[in-house]
Symmetry: C2
Subunit: 113 residues, 2 copies
DNA sequence: CACATTAATCGTAATATTGCAATTAATTAA
DNA sequence: TTAATTAATTGCAATATTACGATTAATGTG
């Protein structure tokens, strides 16, 4: 099928998987690293920086954008990309919570609340 | 192609992507959650718990196993799976470090070292 | 031994992902 | 207006992923 059966999983499981999938390609990791480092940059800069074809970078940018992790704004003939910090924080929170709490036994979690 | 050009990325970028990819499917997230909760369990239990076909669960287990995140040991006619805590810690460290440090400017990082 | 149980593997189908060349649409510069 | 620049989109090919039924191999039970 190639299609995940999301309906049988919890919201948390799907959210973790969706965010993790976004980080599941080194080009997208590199794009995010570069955007954090430079604060913002145009598409063409990422093409040069990373060394994949323009169409490929554009595709990865689209994936990150559709998840909300980055934003793009047209400026003349260029498109300026930057991190969407609000959604980035959500993603970071989701993944961090998962990584932290998965190893804490349910009864301990219960006592902490 | 369907094949990532890993050779043009750093070790860190590839490691983050590889680990994130492992968490990039809700079934694998669910498997890991269940293994942490029950400490260990047999394959058949995961099939019942998650509700995907046995062959499918086996495939996801293989993916987690080949990354080293879980271990499986044959016990009679069953196979008992558990988290490989050492490699889990490595993965957690890799992803956490990435999530934490990506937003810290390089000059600040430099001053902290 | 025959039979049941369990889980890996195989085969297959559907879909997704990755990558690039070529094209297109939008904007700017001459 | 024409030409140049930029980035999205299209079209395509190769490979990967997801899912499942069927089979197989291994082990245990009668």
């Amino acid at each position: 099928m190639g299609l995940a059966k999301t309906e049988i999983f919890t919201l948390e499981q799907n959210a973790v998987a969706r965010f993790a999938k976004a980080l599941g390609h080194p080009a997208r990791v590199a794009i995010l690293q570069h955007l954090f480092k430079t604060n913002q940059c145009i598409c063409g800069e990422l093409v040069l920086e990373i060394g994949l074809a323009q169409a490929t970078i554009s595709q990865h940018l689209k994936a990150l954008k559709s998840l909300g992790l980055i934003q793009g704004s047209v400026e003349g003939t260029t498109v300026c990309y930057c991190v969407d910090f609000k959604n980035w924080a959500k993603m970071k929170h989701s993944l961090s919570i998962f990584l932290i709490w998965i190893s804490i036994p349910p009864n301990v979690v219960k006592n902490l609340k």
